[in-house]
Symmetry: C2
Subunit: 187 residues, 2 copies
Amino acid sequence: MAADHTGIGPARERVLEAAERVVVEVGAARLTLDAVSQAAGVSKGGLLYHFPSKESLLGALAQRYVDSMQGCIATARDAIEDGGSARDLKACVLGVLGSDPRLKAMGAVLLATAANDLALLEVIRERITQQTQELSESDVDFARASIVLLAIDGLKMRESLRISAFSAEQREQIVNELMKLADEAYR
Amino acid sequence: MAADHTGIGPARERVLEAAERVVVEVGAARLTLDAVSQAAGVSKGGLLYHFPSKESLLGALAQRYVDSMQGCIATARDAIEDGGSARDLKACVLGVLGSDPRLKAMGAVLLATAANDLALLEVIRERITQQTQELSESDVDFARASIVLLAIDGLKMRESLRISAFSAEQREQIVNELMKLADEAYR
DNA sequence: TTAACTGTACCGGCTGGACGGTTTACAGTA
DNA sequence: TACTGTAAACCGTCCAGCCGGTACAGTTAA
């Protein structure tokens, strides 16, 4: 098992968290192996022991983001008692736009991986393809539901890049309206 | 005057176009001064004459993107005869999601600038702040209109990163639905 | 004994940027 | 028209530093 005597949890996880922090705090351009290992409290050798190359680190980062998002959506789904047929769509709204800290860095991570190698977005592309496929096969108003999902993406992206200008009330209005649109998509 | 004997138009513009091409074709990570100067048919020294640092090049790229977008929206606005009060909002849909090649590289450029230095997004942040401000002062349904704008961002982002999975018909449906939502936002 | 590291030293390639020199455009002048 | 001075525009080379990655000998805990 991994040694967890110097930090919290296994080193591999600590490295990924540190990488996220580095991206958010100093930008994707300075996401270097040295910076990550230092932020994780791990030697460079130790970092390369877990991730044999920078590419593999970024790949794991992208995968972790997808997993986190699906986790957040699943949690939100369970919290919705009466969702009707719009339950899944509403879970996306609440899950992605909710307050879970795991998704705070999403856009930055997406950015970092994309900036280094567009091929690393494959895992995300797959996820979107699947989502689109499922949507087109369900009995939902495809365009309406897609707009809800796209608006979620847009808002999340703005917030991750810190270029959003909505006040707290405005954001709440928007989320509420998205929930309403989600319901409408099934009528 | 600038020498334009080796290419089309003044060198400065050629450099910016070349930078866009480089980002789109080989990725933001390989947007180097050498690559840009080579793609522009200009020496590295010549490149650095026009843009004294890489940062200034990226800044100009971001500015160019904002200008292009406003240009596309303005053009779209003029093409809408009967827009009613939703004219501006509809112009955003058609302008940003239209076929103008100037915006094809938008996401990639945004990506490149953000990846190198988050501070370079300032010009975009200002634009969004202004847009949000104007929206909140108009008599539009704020949440609905915001969702339209956010969905535009989301779709543009997916397409720029080439992670979109919509078919041509699906995309058309979505754009049409966005236009409908834009109208509804004023009723 | 083995897996999971640490620490240090090192390397080759790439990158941003500096710099000195060269060409081009053009205004002034006679 | 021819000449000339000057400044803008541009070229090509060089360099210091950083970054990803390697190598390897030691250390710790199970």
